[in-house]
C-alpha cells in the first residue's frame, strides 16, 4: 500500500519544497520507491531543487488532461534509484487540477510506488486543499515564528476537516517539522523555541532543521541537501526520515555551538 504524504504549511517560503526534495530523496535512499509530485502549478520549483529542470518534457497537468501518460512524464532521478519526480507546469493554469483527476493519477501511482510525496503550494486555498485532500499523513513545515505557526495551525484545521480521511471520520497522521531553526536567535528571544511551537500546535515532532547556508548552496546546484553529508541541515533531514519510518532518534542541532573561551574574551 502506497503512503501519500503531503508537505504543507499555509505560509509561503517556509521550506516545503526543500523538505519535499530532502525527505523524498531520503526515503528513496532507504530503498523505498518514491515519487515527489509538484502541486505548485504555475510556479514550478521542485524540478530546480531536484536538478532535473532540463529534462521536463510533459508535466502533471498534461497527465491530468490525458495529453501524456505517467511513464512519459515521470522523471527518473539521476542519483538515486527508485526516485521519481512528477513536475508541475509553469504555464498552465491551476484550474486543470480537479479532485477526480488528481485521484486518478494518485491511484495509478499507488500501484507501483511505496511513497507519494505531495509538495503543496503555499496558502490555504484550492491548490493547497487539492494537495492535501488524499493524504494519509502530513508533514507540517513551520518556521519558529508566530505567523508561520498560526498558518500551520490553520492548515491542520483544514487537514482534519476537508481531507478525504476527515470526511470519512478518520484522521490524517500529523508530523511537525520545524525548519530554519536558529538556536542562537532562540536563546536571544528573537525566535520561538521548539517547545513553544510544540505546545501551540500539539502534534508530534518529526524533525528540527537548522538554518543553514548549505540549503541555499544545495538548491543552486540542484542537489537535495540530504546528499550533503557535511551539512547540519542534511543530517537533520536524515534523522527526520528515520523518524518518519518509525525509528527513535535523538534530536540534534537544538543548541547553538558554544563559543570557545578565547572567542568569548575577545567578544567575537
Amino acid at each position: 500500500m502506497a503512503k501519500i504524504i503531503v508537505v504543507t504549511s499555509g505560509k509561503g517560503g517556509v521550506g516545503k519544497t526543500t523538505t519535499s526534495a530532502a525527505i523524498g530523496t531520503g526515503l528513496a535512499l532507504t530503498g523505498k520507491k518514491t515519487v515527489i509530485i509538484d502541486f505548485d502549478v504555475g510556479l514550478r520549483n521542485l524540478d530546480l531543487i531536484m536538478g532535473c529542470e532540463r529534462r521536463v518534457v510533459y508535466d502533471f497537468v498534461n497527465v491530468l488532461n490525458n495529453e501524456a501518460n505517467l511513464s512519459q512524464t515521470l522523471i527518473k532521478d539521476k542519483r538515486v534509484n527508485n526516485l521519481f519526480v512528477l513536475p508541475a507546469s509553469q504555464t498552465r493554469d491551476k484550474d486543470s487540477l480537479t479532485l477526480e483527476g488528481v485521484e486518478r493519477v494518485l491511484n495509478e501511482l499507488a500501484e507501483t510506488f511505496d511513497y507519494i510525496i505531495c509538495d503543496s503550494p503555499a496558502g490555504i486555498e484550492k491548490g493547497a486543499q487539492m494537495a492535501l485532500y488524499f493524504a494519509d499523513e502530513a508533514i507540517i513545515v513551520t518556521n519558529p515564528e508566530v505567523s508561520s505557526v498560526r498558518d500551520s495551525d490553520r492548515i491542520l484545521g483544514i487537514l482534519q476537516s476537508k481531507s478525504r480521511h476527515a470526511e470519512n471520520g478518520a484522521m490524517v497522521k500529523e508530523h511537525l517539522l520545524i525548519t530554519r531553526y536558529n538556536p542562537a536567535r532562540v536563546a536571544d528571544g528573537e525566535m520561538l523555541s521548539v517547545s513553544d511551537v510544540e505546545e501551540i500546535l500539539a502534534i508530534p515532532l518529526i524533525g528540527v532543521i537548522p538554518e543553514s547556508e548549505s540549503v541555499l548552496k544545495a538548491s543552486n546546484q540542484g542537489v537535495p541537501v540530504i546528499h550533503d553529508e557535511e551539512s547540519d541541515a542534511g543530517n537533520a533531514y536524515i534523522d527526520a526520515v528515520k523518524r518518519l519510518l518509525g525509528e527513535e532518534v535523538d534530536f540534534r542541532f537544538l543548541t547553538a555551538p558554544k563559543k570557545g573561551i578565547l572567542k568569548r574574551l575577545i567578544g567575537a
Binding site: 480537479t98 479532485l99 498560526r150 495551525d153 490553520r154 491542520l156 484545521g157 482534519q160 500539539a202
Partner: protein, 228 residues
Amino acid sequence: MSNDCFRLKGSVLTTFILELHDDSDEFGQQLKNKVDATPEFFQQSPVIIDCSKLDPTTTDINYSDIVSVCRDNGLQPIAFKYHPDLDLSAVKPTKLAVIEHNSKQTDKAPAENPLLPANDHSPKIINKPVRSGQQIYAKDRDLIVIGSVSGGAEVLADGNIHVYGSLRGRALAGVTGNHKARIFCSSNEAELVSITGHFLVSHSHDTATWKKPAQFYLEDDTLHVVSL
C-alpha cells in the same frame, strides 16, 4: 469543488452590537474613547447599530451621521436593528441592511431560559484542538473542548464553555442571552472572552489569571475573571 459561481452557506458571524441609548452629540466622543482604549481590537469590526432602545417618538435622528461616526472610528456598520415603531424611511439613505428588533428573543429573562441546565440538551463535545480559523457553535447547549482553542479560533455556545486545554482564541458564552453562562479553561490565554456580549480582551484581563486555570462569569453586568 464544482464550477458553480457561488455556494450559499450558513454561518454564524460574531459582530458587535452598538446599542444606542441617546442620539446626542456626545456619541462621537464616547465611541472614540471606547475604541482608543483597545484600537486593534475594534479594527474594522463589523457592527450592528441597534436603535431599538431609542425613543420611538424621536423623528430627527440622523442615521447617516451615526454611520459616519462609526466609520471614522474604524468600525464597519453592516445593519440597523430598529424598533417596529421607528420611522424607517430615514434609514434608507444609509443603504445599510435593516433587521427588525425581535423583542421576544432579547428580552428573555435568564431565569426563564429553559436551556440551562437541561437534561435533553447534552453538551457538544469536541475531542480535538480547535484550530485557527475554525469556529464551533454549540446551539442550545454547553460546549466542551477536550484540547486547546488556538489563537484565531472561535468557540461559541448558548450555554457554558469548558476548555480543558489552553484557551488562546475567542470564547463567547451565553450568546443568545443567558447571563448565567460561564466560561472555564485550564489556561487562560484568551484573545477575547464574552458572556452575553459583555467582553474582555487579552490585555485588559486581570493578569493574575494569565496562563492559569480560570473562570469567567457575569455579575452586575460586568464580566469577572477568577482563578480556578
